[in-house]
C-alpha cells in the first residue's frame, strides 16, 4: 500500500480543481503507468490487480474499468480456446484495449429490445454490423469514447434470414498505431455527466462494418461457416457476468456509505453550534439528538451492508461453483437475491450519502468535503447494471412464483423458505394467522421474526391483489402492471428482512465480547429504526401494537445515546486513510478549518488577486455610470 501511496508518479493535483479533460488525462496517465508497474512487479492475480488499481485510483472510476472488469472476464467466460489465444494475451498486455458495448441510446435494462444487428454473410464468412436507427447507437460504455480500440458488441444475430437473439462480437473500432476510427465506425465521447468525469463514456455507430466469423464469441452458441446456428445449452449462462457485478455493487453500497459516515461523523465531532444548555459552551453537533438520528442509523446500515456484501459474495462463489459442476438449481434464487439487494442497498446508500452531506451543513456542499463526489460517483449504481425498479420487479416475480409453489403444496428453499410457513388454505379473508405473539424489542432474533412476518404479509397481499386483478381483468400483463407498486413494496420488505437476518446472524460469529456488545446495539438500532420508519406496515399487519411502536421509538432514541460514545471509533474502524477519503471535513486529526482555508486558496478563481473579468466586464460598467 505504501508502495503506491508514496510513489511520486501516482501523485496529482486536487481533482476538484481540474477540468474534465484534465481529469481524464490524469486518470489515463495513472492507468498506463499502473499497467507498466503491474508488469514490472509481475502482479497478475485478479484480487491483487484489483487492490492495486483501487489504491492507484483511490476507489475512483477510471477509463480502463471496463477493459479490466468486463472485456477480459467476458473473454475468459465466453470465448473459445482459439479466440482466447488470439485476443486474451494481447488484451492482457494492453495491446488491445477493450470495452463492453451493450446499452444503446434507446434501450438499457430491457436487453431483448436492443436494435444493433449482426447479419451473417456466408459468401465472405463475415458478420455485417449495423446501427440501423438513431436509438440503436451504442451509448454509455466506459472507455469507449476515446480510449478503447476494441469493443465486445452485443447485437441481434441474423443468419439464414432468422433472428437468433442477442450475441456478443469482438469488434475492432480504432486503427492500431494511429488510433483513428476504422472506416464504417463513428465513435466519440457522450459529453459531460453528473460525475464520472475521468471516464470517456462513449457512443458507437456502425455502418455495414464487417468482421470475420471467428469474431463472434462462440463458447456457447455458434454460427457454422454455412450459416447454420448451433444453440447454447442454457441461455441463462450469459447473464453470469451481470449477476457477479450486481453482487459487487452491494459491496460498493457499503463502501460508499461507510466513507460518507466517516466524514459526517468525524466532522460532527469537530463542529460546534448553538447552545444545548444556557450559558455553557457550544456543544459538538454530534451531541444533538436530531444529528444522531440522522447519522447513527446510517452507520448501522453501513455495517449491515458490509455484512450483506460479504454474504452475497460468498453465496455467489458457492453457487457459481455448483454451476460449473452443472447444477443450475440455485441460479434463480441467486439472480433474485442479487437483483433485489442491489436495488435495496443502492437506494438506501444513495439517500444516505445525501443525508450525510446535508448533515454537514453548508461545508458539505463544498467539493472539499468529498461528499458531492462520492454522491455523483455512486448514484448511477441505482441505474446501471439493471435499473432498480426493474430489479425489484424481477425479484418480485421470483417471490410470487415461490408463493405459488407453496400454494400448490411444494416446498421452497433458501431466503424465501419462510413462505413455507403460510397456512395452506387461502380462503379466509384475514392475512397470515401465525405470527409471533410477542415481539421482544431488545432481542435481534425476535426482530428478525417481526421482519419475516412483515415480508410474509406483504408478499401475500401483493399475490392476492395480483390474483384479484387476474380474476377481474384476465390479462396477465395488465394485472402485473396495476399491482407493480404493491410488488415493489413486497420485495422491499423481503430484502429488508434478509438484511436484518444477515446482520443478526453475524453477531453470533463475533468472539470478542466488547465488540459484540457494540455491534448488537448497532444491529438493534438498524432493525428498530426500520420499524420506526415503516410503522404503518407493522401496525396494519397486526405484528406490533400502538404501544409497542411507541416503545420502539423510545428505544431508538435511547440507542442513539448509547452509541454516541463509540460513534467515532466505529467509523475509525472502517480504516480509511486521509488520502483515500480525500475529505477536508473527514480528516482523522480534525483540523478542518485551517485545511479548508488552505484548500480554498488553491481554487482556480484565486489564481490572480483581481480576476480578469473585472477588467473585461465590471470596470467598464462601474466607470460609465
Amino acid at each position: 500500500e505504501a508502495l503506491i501511496a508514496n510513489d511520486p508518479d501516482f501523485q496529482h493535483e486536487d481533482l476538484n480543481f481540474l477540468s474534465r479533460s484534465q481529469r481524464y488525462d490524469q486518470a489515463i496517465r495513472k492507468s498506463a503507468l499502473m499497467v507498466m508497474k503491474l508488469r514490472e512487479y509481475g502482479i497478475a492475480d485478479p484480487d491483487e490487480v484489483y487492490m492495486f488499481k483501487s489504491l492507484v485510483h483511490r476507489g475512483r472510476p477510471e477509463p480502463l474499468d471496463l477493459h479490466l472488469g468486463m472485456f477480459l472476464p467476458t473473454l475468459l467466460t465466453q470465448a473459445t480456446p482459439e479466440q482466447q489465444d488470439r485476443f486474451f494475451m494481447p488484451a492482457w498486455n494492453l495491446e488491445i484495449i477493450g470495452t463492453y458495448a451493450q446499452t444503446e441510446m434507446g434501450h438499457g435494462s430491457h436487453l431483448r429490445g436492443l436494435e444493433t444487428t449482426a447479419t451473417y454473410d456466408p459468401a465472405t464468412q463475415e458478420f455485417i454490423l449495423n446501427s440501423p436507427t438513431v436509438t440503436s447507437i451504442k451509448w454509455w460504455p466506459g472507455g469507449l469514447g476515446k480510449t478503447a480500440n476494441h469493443a465486445i458488441v452485443l447485437a441481434q444475430l441474423y443468419t439464414q434470414g432468422q433472428c437468433k437473439g442477442l450475441h456478443a462480437f469482438i469488434v475492432p473500432i480504432r486503427q492500431l498505431g494511429t488510433h483513428e476510427p476504422l472506416p464504417g465506425i463513428t465513435v466519440g465521447d457522450i459529453g459531460p455527466k453528473f460525475g464520472y468525469d475521468e471516464v470517456d463514456n462513449g457512443y458507437l455507430k456502425m455502418d455495414n462494418f464487417r468482421i470475420p466469423r471467428e469474431n463472434m464469441l462462440m463458447k456457447y452458441a455458434q454460427v457454422e461457416p454455412d450459416g447454420t446456428y448451433v444453440k447454447p445449452l442454457s441461455d441463462k449462462l450469459t447473464y453470469g457476468t451481470m449477476v457477479f457485478i450486481r453482487a459487487y455493487i452491494v459491496g460498493e453500497s457499503a463502501r460508499a456509505l461507510s466513507r460518507s459516515c466517516t466524514i459526517a461523523i468525524r466532522y460532527s465531532a469537530v463542529r460546534h453550534q448553538s447552545e444545548l444548555r444556557a450559558g455553557e459552551p457550544e456543544p459538538q453537533v454530534l451531541d444533538y439528538q436530531t444529528q444522531q438520528y440522522k447519522l447513527f442509523p446510517l452507520l448501522a446500515a453501513a455495517y449491515a451492508f458490509h455484512f450483506v456484501g460479504t454474504y452475497i459474495k460468498d453465496t455467489y462463489r458457492r453457487i457459481s461453483g455448483d454451476i460449473i459442476e452443472g447444477d443450475l438449481s440455485e441460479l434463480p434464487e441467486l439472480h433474485a437475491l442479487t437483483a433485489g439487494l442491489k436495488a435495496f442497498t443502492t437506494w438506501i446508500a444513495n439517500a444516505g450519502i445525501e443525508e450525510c452531506r446535508m448533515a454537514c451543513g453548508g461545508h458539505g456542499y463544498s467539493r472539499c468535503s468529498s461528499l458531492p463526489d462520492i454522491y455523483v460517483t455512486f448514484t448511477p449504481t441505482c441505474t446501471y447494471e439493471g435499473e432498480n425498479t426493474v430489479m425489484m420487479l424481477q425479484t418480485a416475480r421470483f417471490l410470487i412464483k415461490s408463493y405459488m409453489q407453496v400454494g400448490s403444496g411444494q416446498r421452497v428453499t433458501g431466503t424465501v423458505s419462510y413462505l413455507n410457513d403460510l397456512p395452506r388454505q387461502h380462503i379466509q379473508p384475514q392475512h397470515v394467522a401465525a405470527r409471533p405473539a410477542t415481539v421482544l424489542i431488545n432481542d435481534p432474533v425476535s426482530l428478525v421474526e417481526a421482519y419475516k412476518a412483515r415480508a410474509t404479509w406483504l408478499v401475500e397481499s401483493a399475490a392476492k391483489n395480483l390474483q384479484a386483478e387476474l380474476n377481474h381483468r384476465k390479462n396477465k400483463d395488465d394485472a402485473w402492471n396495476v399491482t407493480s407498486v404493491d410488488l415493489v413494496r413486497a420485495t422491499d420488505a423481503h430484502c429488508h428482512y434478509v438484511v436484518v437476518k444477515i446482520f443478526t446472524a453475524k453477531l453470533s460469529e463475533i468472539s470478542n465480547a466488547a465488540v459484540r456488545a457494540v455491534l448488537t446495539d448497532l444491529c438493534l438500532l438498524y432493525a428498530l429504526h426500520g420499524i420506526s420508519k415503516n410503522p404503518g406496515d407493522f401496525l396494519q399487519a397486526g405484528i406490533l401494537t400502538n404501544t409497542q411502536v411507541n416503545q420502539v421509538n423510545q428505544r431508538v432514541k435511547e440507542l442513539l445515546a448509547i452509541i454516541r460514545p463509540n460513534a467515532v471509533a466505529l467509523v475509525d474502524a472502517f480504516d480509511y486513510s486521509d488520502g483515500y477519503l480525500g475529505s477536508v471535513l473527514g480528516r482523522y486529526d480534525g483540523n478542518v478549518y485551517e485545511t479548508m482555508f488552505e484548500w480554498a486558496k488553491k481554487s482556480p478563481l484565486n489564481q490572480t488577486e483581481v480576476h480578469e473579468s473585472f477588467h473585461k466586464h465590471l470596470k467598464p460598467i462601474m466607470s460609465k455610470l
Partner: protein, 631 residues
C-alpha cells in the same frame, strides 16, 4: 393577462446570444463565472434599453428565463437590506450608488465556523469613541466570513454582520457596510483578505467568497440604524425588536421559494414526464409495441406525485407571498406583532418545500434511467443546485425546530384558553373519534382527508408537548428536555406544514369554480397530493387511530386509481408550466420529443469530441507501442 409582457421579455432574452445557455454544461468554473458576470452587466444595459423595471414583474420573468445563471444577485440583497434596515440618510447615500453600480455589494453573514446559529457568529465590531469608528475583526480562523455570493471576486462592498461591542459590552449581531476592494483597481483594501472558496457541487457561476478582517475601520454612520444606533458618546439606543435584523433573512427564505426551489421541481417534472412519454421499454402485453414507460404503474408512482407536489407548492407560494406582503407593511409601520408567526411560517415552509422539491427532483432524475445522469438531460445541474436550498438561508432541521417552538408555544396558549394566531387555531379543535369513511371513494372527499391530516398534526404536536412537560416535571433541565424531544418535534413541525399545504390546495381548488375543466383536473391533483402523503406516512396516520388498517387499504386503492386518471393529463399538465426548450436546456425534455437526435447532437458538440485526444499521444501510444515492440 400577465402572459403578454412575459412573452415579450422571454422573447427579448432568449433571442439574445449573450444569454444563451447552450454551452453551459461544457464550461469550467472560471468560464461559468465570467459568463455570469458578463450577463449581469449586459442585463443592466438591456433593462435600460427595454425600459423594464427592476422591481416589477419583468425581473421575475428575466430571472426565470436566465435560470438564475447570472452574477450580482447578492447585490440585490445588499440593496434590499439597506432599504429595510437603513436610516433615511443611509438610504439616500447608499441606494443611488448601488443602483447605478458605482459600487457592487454583497451580504456577509455566514462564517466558517457558524451558519444557521446567528448568535454564535464571531466577527466583532468594536466602537472606538475617540475616532467615531467601528473596528472590525475576524479574531480567529472560524470567524472568517465564508460562502457569501458575489464576494469572492466581484464585490467592492459588503454588508458584514458582526457582534457589536461598545465600552466592552456586547450588544449582539448588527450589520455594517464595509468597503472591501478599491474602486480604482479592485485590489483588496488594507486589512482585508478576500477570495473565492473553491469548487462546489454547483453554483460554479457564483464566486462564493471568504473574507478575513484585521482591524478594518468604518465610520460610525456605516452601522445600519433604522431600528438601533450607537450615538457619538457610545450610548446604544434601540427602537424595535432585535429580531428585525433577521427580517431580511426571514423574507429571503420565502422569496427564494418560487425561483430557486419550486421552479426546478417544475422543470424536472417537465423533463421526466415528457421523456417518459417518449421512452419505450419492454412490452406490457406480448405481441404489442414496447410500452411508453409512463404507462408503467411504478413510473407513474414516481412522477405523478411530484407533479401534484409542484402544483401544491405553487399554490402555497402564492399564499405565503400574500402573507408576507401584509407583514412587511405592518413592519414598516413599526408594528411587530406578526413577526413570530411570519418567522414560524418562513422557517417551516422553507424547510418543507425545499426538502420535498429536492427529493422530487432527484426522483425525476433517477426516473430517467441512464440518460438522466448525462448533464445534457439538465437534471443533474437542477439537482445539485436545488439541494443547496436545504442548507442555505437556514439548515432545514434547525428551521423545523424553530417552527416547532412556535407550535408548542401556541399549543400551550390554546390549552390555557388564550388567543392564538389564525394559522394554528385548529390546535384548539375538539378531537373526534374515528374516520367515518366506508368506501374508497370517500377518500376523494377533501373533508375526509383534511380531517385525517388535522388529527395527525394535532396528535404529533400535543404528544411532543406532553413529553416535554413530563420531562421538565421529572426534573430534567429545559434545554436537555428539548434536545430529547427534537426528533418528535421535527416530525410535528413537518406534519403541521403538510396539513396547511393540503388545506391550502383544497381551498385553492374550491376557488376555481368558474373554470370547471381546470377545477376538475386540479381536484385530481389535490387528491393525489393528499393521498400520497397518507400512503407514504401510513404509520403516523394509523398510530393516531383515526384511520384503521382497513382504511389504509381504501386509501391505497384510491391513490393507485388516481395515478391512471392523471396519467392522461400528465403531459398537458407539465406543458402548462410553459418552459421554452431553451429555458429547459434539456435533451430529454424538449417539446417536440426528439430526444435521441438531441442527445447525439449534444454529444458531438462536447469539447471532448471537438479537440484531439492528447492523452492518446502522451500515454496510450507509448504504452501500446511499448508492448508491440516487446511482443
Amino acid at each position: 393577462e400577465q402572459t403578454i409582457p412575459h412573452c415579450l421579455t422571454v422573447e427579448a432574452i432568449e433571442s439574445d446570444p449573450v444569454f444563451s445557455q447552450e454551452n453551459q454544461y461544457f464550461q469550467s468554473q472560471n468560464e461559468r463565472y465570467e459568463a455570469a458576470v458578463r450577463r449581469a452587466v449586459y442585463l443592466q444595459k438591456k433593462i435600460r434599453e427595454m425600459g423594464w423595471s427592476e422591481t416589477g414583474p419583468e425581473f421575475q420573468y428575466i430571472y426565470r428565463c436566465l435560470s438564475g445563471d447570472v452574477a450580482l444577485l447578492l447585490h440585490r440583497v445588499f440593496i434590499r437590506s439597506i432599504s429595510v434596515l437603513g436610516s433615511d440618510e443611509q438610504i439616500a447615500k447608499w441606494i443611488p450608488l448601488a443602483t447605478d453600480y458605482r459600487i457592487i455589494g454583497s451580504y456577509a453573514q455566514t462564517e466558517l465556523g457558524h451558519g444557521t446559529y446567528l448568535q454564535g457568529l464571531e466577527t466583532t465590531a468594536v466602537f472606538d469613541t475617540a475616532t467615531q469608528e467601528f473596528i472590525l475583526n475576524t479574531p480567529k480562523i472560524s470567524a472568517m466570513k465564508w460562502w457569501p455570493g458575489d464576494m469572492g471576486r466581484s464585490a467592492t462592498h459588503s454588508l458584514v454582520f458582526a457582534q457589536l461591542y461598545v465600552h466592552g459590552k456586547c450588544y449582539g449581531v448588527h450589520p455594517f457596510i464595509l468597503q472591501i476592494r478599491s474602486l480604482q483597481d479592485h485590489s483588496p483594501c488594507p486589512g482585508v483578505t478576500v477570495g473565492d472558496i473553491g469548487p462546489k457541487m454547483n453554483f460554479q457561476h457564483t464566486d462564493n467568497g471568504f473574507l478575513r478582517l484585521q482591524n478594518v475601520r468604518v465610520p460610525r454612520e456605516n452601522m445600519l440604524s433604522k431600528f438601533c444606533e450607537v450615538q457619538p458618546d457610545g450610548t446604544y439606543v434601540r427602537w424595535g425588536s432585535q429580531k428585525i435584523n433577521y427580517f431580511t433573512m426571514t423574507s429571503v427564505r420565502i422569496a427564494i421559494l418560487p425561483g430557486e426551489v419550486i421552479l426546478p421541481l417544475m422543470k424536472a417534472c417537465t423533463i421526466a414526464i415528457r421523456y417518459s412519454a417518449v421512452r419505450r421499454q419492454s412490452k406490457l402485453k406480448p405481441g404489442e409495441q414496447e410500452a411508453k414507460i409512463l404507462d408503467y404503474q411504478t413510473q407513474q408512482q414516481k412522477l405523478l406525485p411530484q407533479l401534484a407536489t409542484a402544483y401544491a407548492f405553487h399554490f402555497i407560494n402564492t399564499y405565503l407571498h400574500e402573507l408576507f406582503n401584509r407583514g412587511y407593511q405592518d413592519i414598516q409601520g413599526k408594528n411587530f406583532d406578526s413577526l413570530p408567526e411570519l418567522h414560524a411560517f418562513s422557517s417551516g415552509f422553507k424547510a418543507m418545500v425545499s426538502q420535498h422539491c429536492t427529493s422530487g427532483v432527484e426522483i425525476c432524475l433517477r426516473a430517467c434511467g441512464g440518460h438522466g445522469y448525462s448533464l445534457l438531460s439538465g437534471l443533474p445541474s437542477l439537482y445539485t443546485r436545488i439541494i443547496a436550498s436545504c442548507i442555505y438561508e437556514g439548515e432545514n432541521t434547525v428551521l423545523f425546530l424553530q417552527t416547532a417552538r412556535f407550535l408548542i408555544k401556541c399549543f400551550m396558549a390554546a390549552s390555557a384558553g388564550q388567543p392564538i394566531p389564525p394559522s394554528v387555531t385548529y390546535l384548539s379543535s375538539v378531537k373526534p373519534g374515528k374516520c367515518p369513511a366506508k368506501d374508497k371513494s370517500d377518500f376523494l372527499s377533501p373533508e375526509t382527508y383534511l380531517k385525517a391530516y388535522e388529527q395527525m398534526a394535532i396528535r404529533l404536536i400535543s404528544s411532543s408537548a406532553a413529553k416535554l412537560q413530563h420531562l421538565i416535571q421529572s426534573g430534567v433541565t429545559k434545554y436537555e428536555a428539548w434536545n430529547q424531544c427534537t426528533v418528535q418535534l421535527e416530525r410535528a413541525a413537518k406534519a403541521h406544514c403538510h396539513y396547511i399545504t393540503v388545506k391550502n390546495f383544497v381551498e385553492t381548488v374550491e376557488k376555481l369554480d368558474n373554470k370547471a375543466g381546470i377545477q376538475k383536473i386540479m381536484k385530481h391533483l389535490c387528491d393525489l397530493f393528499a393521498l400520497h402523503g397518507i400512503f407514504t406516512n401510513m404509520g403516523d396516520f394509523l398510530y393516531d387511530g383515526y384511520l384503521t388498517a382497513a382504511h389504509m387499504d381504501l386509501v391505497t386503492a384510491s391513490y393507485l386509481d388516481l395515478l391512471a386518471v392523471i396519467r392522461k393529463d400528465a403531459v398537458p399538465l407539465v406543458d402548462a408550466f410553459d418552459f421554452t426548450d431553451k429555458n429547459l436546456n434539456s435533451a430529454l425534455g424538449s417539446y417536440d420529443g426528439q430526444v435521441y437526435q438531441r442527445l447525439y447532437e449534444g454529444a458531438r458538440r462536447s469539447p471532448t469530441n471537438q479537440q484531439g485526444n492528447p492523452a492518446y499521444g502522451k500515454y496510450l501510444k507509448p504504452l501500446l507501442q511499448n508492448t508491440l515492440s516487446k511482443l
